[in-house]
Amino acid sequence: MSYVLLRHRDIPDINTLNVYKKNGGFEAFKKVVTKMKPGEVTDTVKASGLRGRGGAGFPTGVKWSFIDNKIWPHYVVANADESEPGTFKDREIMESNPFQFLEGVAIASYAVGANAAYVYLRGEFWQVAKFLDEKIAEMEEAGYLGEKLFGTDYSLHIYTHLGAGAYICGEETAMLESIEGKRGMPRIRPPFPAVYGLYGKPTVVNNVETLTNLPMILANGADWYKNMGTPDSAGVKVFSLSGRIRKPGNYELPFGTTFRQLIYEHGGGVLDGRPVKAIMPAGASSSFIVADEKVLDMQMDYATVRTLGADLGSASVIVIDDTVSIDWIINKTIHFFKHESCGKCTPCREGTYWMMHLIEDIRDDKHSTANVDLLLNVARQMQNKCLCPLGEFSTMAVVTGIERFPQDFKESNKQVLTEPA
């Protein structure tokens, strides 16, 4: 099988304009601008079954169709914030297959009638942003961006915008605030960005990987894409595999690939040949999946993973073996969310802080049952109350960790992470 997204692994130097062009680059964009109406592009994407790769899995074409056509101008924002612990796929795409991503941005922009698009990169992607700026300049030079493209009336400019170290800016409304030059604090939704987005104008926010699918979908047709993956989750996905695994890395596989295939066939199995104890399929925001033989044979797609009491999210699969105690893990995740809570809403700001104290006490005082109960209680008390999903995310590992691995929170638990190989 050849790659759809990580095409640089098939085609050397695809990050140069010439090579990209030789391999069909920009033909999809040219086709949509010169031969298709924006609505037709949206319909094709709808028909392809493409779902957002940023985490929520929302059907991309449907999202585009919510754009309010009574208010102008429109904007497209590419979400390159990639800050979920365990996620590192967008970076590889942008570094190695930049033109396909940018062409995707361009296609989305045409589809929703945007003449300006911003690529919001996390501040740490300083080098990537510089690199993309160069690629954007090359595209402008070659007439793929700018005024009156391909002799039509359609114009488009793409700009990069660097964040500066804030996970919450991956949340789409916080990201818009950040582009507007403010603190990255999420807005109340509704109104959703499709109605009230950047500068208060209708805006589509899509993940890098989502957008990078578009040139191939438009080139090969909706059916081609829909035939990959599962009926629920069409197409291919880049799985970021990390944790206690021999060969961590990005793996582009069709939806429906099993955990076992990913971990053993592609990832080379667990370090030291230990058994898989738990899987976090969506980074630090994940619920824990208790791994057993049956679970390992389950398919990775949105619907199936939900039956396991978790979400596939951005498919950043963190593998945990039996040398690792779950209380140690949630200590890490709680600290992460406490550090990243923007502080706008009470339950998240105070709750993550409280949970941090509790998990530290638990790990210091040999797991007093009272503190473990309180931690579980505080996490549950946060749920369904926060302004944005970050607060919710911070409770997932806590609640499912304590519920699904009670033995790791018993006073007898002495297990700590062993030295890695």
Binding site: S83, T87, F88, A164, G181, A284, I318, T333, P420
Partner: protein, 168 residues
């Protein structure tokens, strides 16, 4: 000196990215530009940016305070920001950090006596498959260093030291 005087081309390019009626958007890139001076942002620089963008200096300061990659204090010339978040820690980042601290004789958050390195623990940097790893933030920008060992890191620090002596 104001940013517009010192970096006229850059400031112009930055402002051109955003609609003129929304020039406040330029605050983040301008802060990076200001940070080129010594790796941190002074109150004067904030005022300068506030004037350029016609917003209040408090609004500029509030942005500096929110984002972790902006600094309002002078610290080490190089900020060595080691990812100790979950995926990296599952691959030994905590031990890596501990050894590094021991070698440098400082604790996390501290600066080496020569003022060269400030050691910081940071959250996930999207390089989980290449742990242990860190980034170095300096006035010039940010650089990733992946698949690191303590030895390789100490070598890198030596190079940095030497380069700085030469510059001086």
């Amino acid at each position: 000196m104001s940013l517009a005087k010192k970096y006229p081309k850059e400031v112009k390019q930055i402002l051109a990215k955003y609609p003129p009626e929304h020039k406040r958007s330029a605050v983040m890139p301008l802060l990076y530009l200001a940070q080129r001076e010594g790796g941190y942002i002074t109150k004067e620089a904030m005022q300068d940016i506030a004037d350029t963008l016609e917003i209040s200096v408090t609004d500029v300061g509030a942005v500096v305070g929110f984002y972790t990659l902006y600094h309002d204090k002078k610290e080490g010339k190089y900020r060595m920001q080691v990812c100790t978040d979950l995926p990296c820690a599952l691959r030994g980042a905590d031990q890596f950090m501990e050894t590094l601290c021991a070698n440098l004789g400082i604790k996390v958050g501290e600066t080496t006596p020569d003022g060269l390195i400030t050691l910081e623990a940071v959250t996930c940097l999207a390089a989980c498959d290449k742990a242990p790893m860190f980034q170095i933030q300096s006035a010039e920008g940010i650089e990733y260093h992946e698949d690191m060992t303590v030895d390789k890191t100490m070598e890198l620090i030596e190079t940095l030291k030497k380069a700085n002596v030469e510059v001086k």
